[in-house]
Amino acid sequence: MTVGYLLFLLTLVNFGGGAVLALAWAISSGQMENVSAGANSIFGADEPIGEMTDTVLMSPSTSADSRRSARERCAPRGA
């Protein structure tokens, strides 16, 4: 039993520590800098930040509304 516990602890330290080390190295070697670049990477010139890309259920309302431009309907209010 005690061998089991010892092995278990050793493994936890080794592997868990290895993971922590890998993470620490990743941070120190600059992988984590400029995190916003990562977050923004899914957008592009054709699907920029600020525009919805899925408006399938956008329902037309009154005739006055339907004359609003497409871009205006797509853009979010606020941020």
């Binding site: 089991g4 493994t11 936890l12 592997f15 868990g16 890998a22 990743a26 070697s29 992988q31």
Partner: protein, 207 residues
């Protein structure tokens, strides 16, 4: 290269974190429990547990093929942790040694029906088992267990009734001149159920 390093970091990290659980849940228990052996009672030739033999071993295959596991468990929880023992499902909890020769083990994860770890100790009447399998409602009104009538054959009575024809009464009885007889699979399954007996005293179970 910037992203290759990141890819490598991800890979290394994933390997290490995953390996922790793998070692903990699989390797170590295997080392600990894999060395278990059967136990013999002092002064006797009795050995426990024994691998299933003959008809009971065949019955195990029927248990698996019909998916009995999806409603029945085969493990008794400790006294004080649940009412398994109070219900008479066993007189002690089950321990790793009880399952030594089982492959695959059939611990189960649902108790839509009662636990069967000790059904062989609890219910020894073969006829009860056969009737219950034929249609559970006969012996247990209100049961939601499916009928296993396809494990039985309807035969015309030739001369005397078969010795193992089911004693079905009233609405359940077959047409006049016919009898319902268990198939080999039904008999094997009942043999398996009657072999489910984990009451042998074991020190590690507290008895």
């Amino acid at each position: 290269m910037f992203s290759m390093q990141r890819g490598l970091a991800i890979f290394v990290g994933i390997t290490f974190t995953f390996a922790t659980g793998w070692v903990g849940l699989i390797v170590i228990p295997h080392l600990q429990l894999g060395e278990l052996a059967a136990q013999s009672e002092e002064g006797t030739t009795e050995v426990y547990p024994r691998p299933l033999q003959g008809l009971a071993a065949q019955g195990r295959a029927v248990y698996i093929s019909e998916g009995c596991l999806y409603c029945h468990s085969q493990q008794v929880r400790a006294e004080g942790y649940g009412t398994d023992i109070a219900r008479g499902w066993g007189d002690r909890r089950t321990v790793p040694r009880d399952y030594l020769f089982e492959n695959p083990i059939l611990l189960g994860s649902m108790r839509t029906g009662p636990d069967l770890a000790n059904i062989g100790a609890r219910q020894t009447d073969e006829t009860w088992h056969l009737l219950h399998l034929y249609n559970p409602v006969i012996t247990s009104p209100g049961s939601i267990m499916p009928p296993f009538d396809y494990l039985f054959e309807t035969r015309r009575i030739v001369g005397e009734r078969a010795y193992d024809a089911l004693p079905l009464k009233d609405d359940w009885a077959p047409a006049a001149g016919f009898e319902i007889v268990p198939s080999d699979r039904a008999k094997a399954l009942v043999a398996y159920l009657k072999a489910q007996n984990r009451t042998f005293p074991l020190k590690e179970a507290g008895r």
